[in-house]
Point group: C2
Chain length 442, copies 2
């Protein structure tokens, strides 16, 4: 009985935020409906598009309409996209006519386009209005404008963008000045099909609060505000990081994704890497006689190949992130090769020295590696330089190769590079052994 | 001669942005000084704090003062911090007295604190002012306010935050209403010592344009605006990704960091991993007799240990990113173990089946693995389930262990997990071999 009573007691906004991920959909809707309207609005705006779609779907039809109409066109478009194709028509039908047209236009953009991030509502001014007229117009329009406004945009009769006026400048200018005189010409603009990752670089570099989106003819289509960019930056970093770790992008929070779905996201790459790694068994088979003759060589195989994998993982991580941040471009490949060549030599030498000392010391203390231990130590040391250098070059160049072929450079995941380097690492190691140990151990 | 003439021709803003990273400091200053003042300002605001400090240092003293005074207090504090300790005093001396005090207060915050992101200038209103008075006050103050404003903050006589008024609401309210009646009470606030990563979650979740920073007594200290958060999100993601790839955070763009410095950032982890990986040589030494008796076992060593490393890399990447996004907290560890246990079993079984089929097929076609090939195939398959399961559990739990010990979970890099799993993978493999092949091959 007591549990039942507790269930009816409304949760506070803070409590709902806390327990939301743990509640069933029915309990979520119940808790949501018990919130006072203004807190419910705050909460609703804070949900991501998928959650908004689920909440709306759980409400009675009459309320659905009021919630979806609350969203600005860009957020409504995101929500309708997240709700899935079969719900698109009924949801669109709930919007008023002008918003429906705006949302339809937004849904036509690819998801990763600047156009998909854009809000089609913004403040338009004519260049020949006076500042006084502009302010009067502004105050009248405020209720229909986006929640946050920073700039007014000055358009000509063809909707072409002439300039931008920061609102602060508008409010402090003498009332009879023309808008044309206070506007900034040649503003930074975003082409409507620019990739959202490139959009986020523009914002990160320049600390803009909003940027205008224009089509190929320079006609204004809408604005992108910086608050939407924070999400994009998070999402893109998450995707890149997951790919780098050898997982397909999850597209949902870790604890919320269904287990079979998560296994599917991981099994693809894991199996592909496993198939690639099978080449090591073939390579090892090729050197089976050498191993039978000198088992001591087998002892260092994991050490050698993992060093190549680790140095490759470092290089590929650095290059992929630098590419994502726009710090390294395709045409920089030669500068990167030069740097990584020198870094690879340096890092390889450090590991070679540590490895050489380790083998010689162990032999002096434990007498484990036999009479030809110096040859073994030299083989391991030389292989380390070769393997680390190769790992570094392969790890840094793979993202360039993928990008120049039109693939996502982040697919050059650390495990992918490690697998690539494992096979060649074995070949380097046994070739060195043949060169150095021929006539003694082999 | 022609080259010399070209050098004097001023570059456009776009050209400077393009070639900036390639120019020497002297050429940068020269190009900067040739820009028209408004373009130079745009460019200067777009530079990061370190670059701003360098540009200011390169200008004549008189101009230095004008540029540093242009920056809002939070950006000035960032620049002074980036310029280094020895330049702190002379730079501070160039500020006007009130700004100097504000900047000093900001410099006292730890770099990763919310306080370090904060702008101490914002719009203050009294609760009993009328909307008309508030708007009049606002228009008068606009020139001294931050470049972008969204909300006015209502404070009592003790500087305690009573509520927030969106400017849009202020402009559309009836002129004689009291500010108290249009403000929103219980606004979301940021404690002054909140970590900047937590600050970025608040913004990412809720699409705020600015949030107020308060001290423990609820007194308003300043505001954090969303444009500064974009940088934080980028930076934190870069750091996490670099750590995940087994590199110490670079703290500078890839192509700009000096080569010896970059090698230092990589050699530490690489050597540590190498030392850890040496345990594989010891483990292999322990099984030397088994390898000598059945060389065929050696062939699958790279395959087995890399599968453990790859599955561990997937698990650690997913958990670290979910932790960074606040989706997984320390107390969720048991839910994560359960999921990863099931995922590890599933993934291990898939690889085991592929591996088993591969060995049996190869034997049928090439007759490479000898009469006991079914035993070998069974050993490999069982080891794969064990190694993948162990890699998955180790990779997902290591971030929890590190975090609960007070370390950064992102230090559980993919190569770190792979190294950890390599040694135990060998033990699992040879133990399985001893169990399954005793009496036949061993």
């Amino acid at each position: 009985m007591e549990a039942a009573t507790n269930e009816k007691e409304p949760l506070s906004l803070g409590e709902i935020r806390e327990v939301w991920p743990l509640l069933s959909m029915v309990d979520r809707i119940q808790a949501f409906e018990l919130l006072p309207r203004d807190e419910a609005e705050d909460f609703f705006f804070g949900l991501d598009a998928r959650e908004q779609a689920r909440v709306v779907a759980g409400l009675p039809p009459r309320e659905q309409r009021s919630w979806i109409r609350l969203l600005p066109p860009d957020d409504a478009a995101d929500m309708i996209q997240a709700a899935g194709l079969e719900k698109r028509e009924p949801l669109l039908a709930m919007l008023d006519e002008p918003t429906r047209l705006e949302v339809l236009a937004l849904l036509a953009y690819a998801e990763d386009d600047a156009g998909g991030l854009m809000n089609p509502r913004y403040i338009r001014l004519r260049p020949d209005a006076t500042v006084e007229e502009a302010i009067r117009y502004l105050r009248k329009q405020m209720n229909e404008l986006p929640r946050t406004i920073h700039y007014a945009y000055v358009l000509d009769a063809d909707q072409k963008l002439l300039g931008v006026v920061p609102l602060r400048q508008l409010f402090t200018a003498p009332p009879l000045t023309r808008v044309r005189e206070v506007m900034r010409t040649n503003p930074v603009t975003i082409p409507e099909h620019m990739d959202q990752e490139a959009v986020s670089h523009l914002f990160a570099q320049n600390h803009f609060m909003a940027l205008p989106v224009v089509d190929a003819e320079g006609r204004m289509k809408g604005i992108v505000t910086v608050d939407d960019v924070v999400d994009v930056v998070q999402e893109e970093a998450t995707e890149d990081m997951q790919k780098l770790g050898g997982v397909a992008a999850l597209d949902a929070p870790y604890l919320q994704i269904a287990l079979p779905h998560m296994i599917r996201k991981r099994v693809g790459w894991l199996s592909a890497l496993f198939l690639g790694e099978m080449l090591t068994a073939s390579a090892m088979g090729y050197f089976e006689k050498e191993i039978a003759r000198a088992v001591v060589l087998a002892l260092f195989i994991p050490l050698i190949i993992s060093s190549g994998g680790n140095s490759g993982s470092q290089a590929t991580t650095l290059v992929i992130r630098a590419m994502a941040l726009g710090q390294v471009r395709l045409r920089d490949w030669w500068r990167v090769v030069r740097r990584e060549f020198l870094a690879g030599i340096g890092l390889g030498l450090v590991l070679a020295i540590i490895g050489f000392i380790r083998i010689v010391t162990w032999e002096r203390i434990f007498h484990t590696y036999g009479p030809h231990y110096l040859g073994v130590a030299a083989t391991v040391a030389c292989s380390l330089v070769g393997v680390v250098l190769w790992g570094t070059i392969a790890g840094s160049m793979l993202p360039f190769i993928l990008r120049s072929l039109g693939f996502d450079p982040a697919s050059a995941s650390a495990p992918f590079v490690a697998t690539l380097v494992d096979v060649s690492g074995l070949v380097i190691y046994f070739t060195m052994a043949a060169l150095i140990l021929r006539g003694t151990l082999l």
